[in-house]
Subunit: 317 residues, 2 copies
């Protein structure tokens, strides 16, 4: 391995925080020898358990995550937190503000916190999140929590990258049907009803349980609704117990392996997609595209042009 | 052109509603001769103006769209509405319920309404939305409105597919900062503050104008905040006037052409990406992947496997 990144790899494996940060930045920017580094780290993956927490803004995801992290630390497990901000696709910056609230956790060497923006990487968010989690896994973190706001694709991406996916809702959301339409039913292994001390909580709990009940469990797992009041730290231990129950369920039914194979498959396809696209756009093809675009009356439709360009590549196989 | 789809193409060009519906379904499912049809329709594109409406659930997007459609019909222009439901990625079904509210519009032959799910097509949502809009454009619809809920990628996709992007907010949202963080600042050409009769509306209007004011307009266009009460049909004509003002601005500054070139470029790249991926996964490569996944102790990391598979393709060029 060339020295330029072998040092970064070995320091990352030794859980050196600066090295971890540098490695993750390379991955986020898809720059430098990031693929070589991921490759070198791969044989050191330690089977970290990966938990996704998703839900609307203000649901209390960060607060729950912080409390969970403390419980995990009490068991002497190292925890990595990846806070994904789907709302900053442009700046590329991710907001660390929330993290300031973490207080004692921020000083705990057994906790690594990283914010990342969800700007469109070639391989997609699920792929980037998996890669960042792989770094923390190789660095010895046993539990990894992804935390993200979002509807639609972001949530699906996180579910793709996680072993257990938790969906967090609040009574005032009222948008329970909206939320369930959002495919949350399908991705949630555990439903957290936070701010349970607010009006309408019990009603919402019943509605939610009813809707969940309607769904035929395909895997044999029936997701529960867990009431919490995260800002008072109330009932967090029941959530942690439920995560462990889900983990045991997956393991005992050989579903964890299956989930991870599926994840690896999607991840591989995403890596390949990104790699091909990266290599497809040679300066020559870039020029073909530019030449086409400046024409006022293109002689070809974009579909014909695309077919020609792809055919030219694929016919050589 | 083979007869199997030439009939569909000519009927679509004649604005036959059944033909349009069939064509769009083929595109949504990426099945049948959909690429050939898009190719055949391409030379008939009539320069339809494309408007995106986005914002949180319950902001009043459908209501605004319906009223806008009536104004557009008053000018004797044909209008196509593409309602994208980012919340049904799983079923593949799109909800037509909202459309039932359209009443008279639903019977107007000058209006075509289509719901589509935003499930992950290979080319991405922006690409599929553009293709569906192309069909309506070729069928003679002069104004096309995309309407979608969503944060993050969905909104960006719609902005990519639209000439004018409108962001709709409501006072009770309160989430103005959340919304602006969401990159909405960057994509909004017009901001609609709906439910302006609700408490807090004026305060929110001022906040919003202040934040928009902070942003240096890069194109010379300063987005305005337009108050509306869509469910009473109030101020919709000012929104339509503002859309036309933005359209004129883009045209007069040669920015419309530039926007559309950029859109075509992204669209072309998406088509090519989808085409390559489709052709890459031959039965042989599928088998290589499956064989790799079943190994308990893979001899290669996924990165090495991906590189090998891509190298094998690309080295032949």
């Amino acid at each position: 391995m060339p020295t330029n990144y072998s040092q970064l790899v070995s320091s990352t494996l030794n859980s050196d925080r600066n090295a971890i940060a540098k490695t993750i930045t390379l991955i986020e920017n898809q720059s430098g020898p990031y693929k070589e580094i991921l490759d070198a780290l791969y044989s050191h993956l330690g089977n970290a358990y990966r938990i996704g927490v998703t839900g609307p803004p203000g649901a209390g995801k960060s607060t729950l995550t912080n409390h969970l992290a403390r419980l995990i630390r009490d068991e002497n497990l190292k925890v990595g937190i990846i806070a994904i901000d789907p709302t900053s696709p442009f700046t590329g910056g991710a907001v660390l503000g929330d993290r300031l609230r973490m207080g004692d956790l921020a000083l705990d060497r057994g906790v690594y916190i990283r914010s990342m923006a969800s700007r469109g990487s070639l391989g997609g968010l699920a792929s980037t999140a998996t890669q960042v989690a792989d770094v923390l896994d190789a660095a010895g973190y046993q539990i990894i929590i992804y935390e993200t706001v979002g509807v639609g694709q972001v949530e699906l991406d996180i579910a793709d990258a996680a072993d257990t996916t938790m969906v967090m809702l609040v009574p005032e959301g009222g948008d329970i049907i909206q939320g369930l339409k959002a495919g949350l039913m399908e991705i949630g292994d555990i439903f957290i009803l936070n701010k349970y001390d607010r009006p309408g909580a019990e009603r919402m709990e019943k509605d939610l349980e009813y809707v969940l009940h309607l769904k035929e469990p395909t895997s044999g797992w029936s997701p529960k609704v867990m009431p919490t009041v995260a800002n008072r730290g109330s009932k967090i231990e029941t959530v942690w117990a439920e995560i462990n129950r889900h983990r045991d369920f997956l393991k005992n039914n050989n579903l964890l392996h299956h989930r991870r194979q599926l994840r690896l498959k999607k991840h591989l396809k995403a890596i390949i997609r990104a790699e091909i696209e990266h290599r497809f756009w040679t300066p020559l093809r870039d020029k073909m595209l530019s030449d086409y675009l400046v024409k006022d009356q293109p002689d070809l439709s974009p579909y014909t042009l695309a077919s020609k360009m792809v055919e030219e590549l694929m016919s050589k196989i």
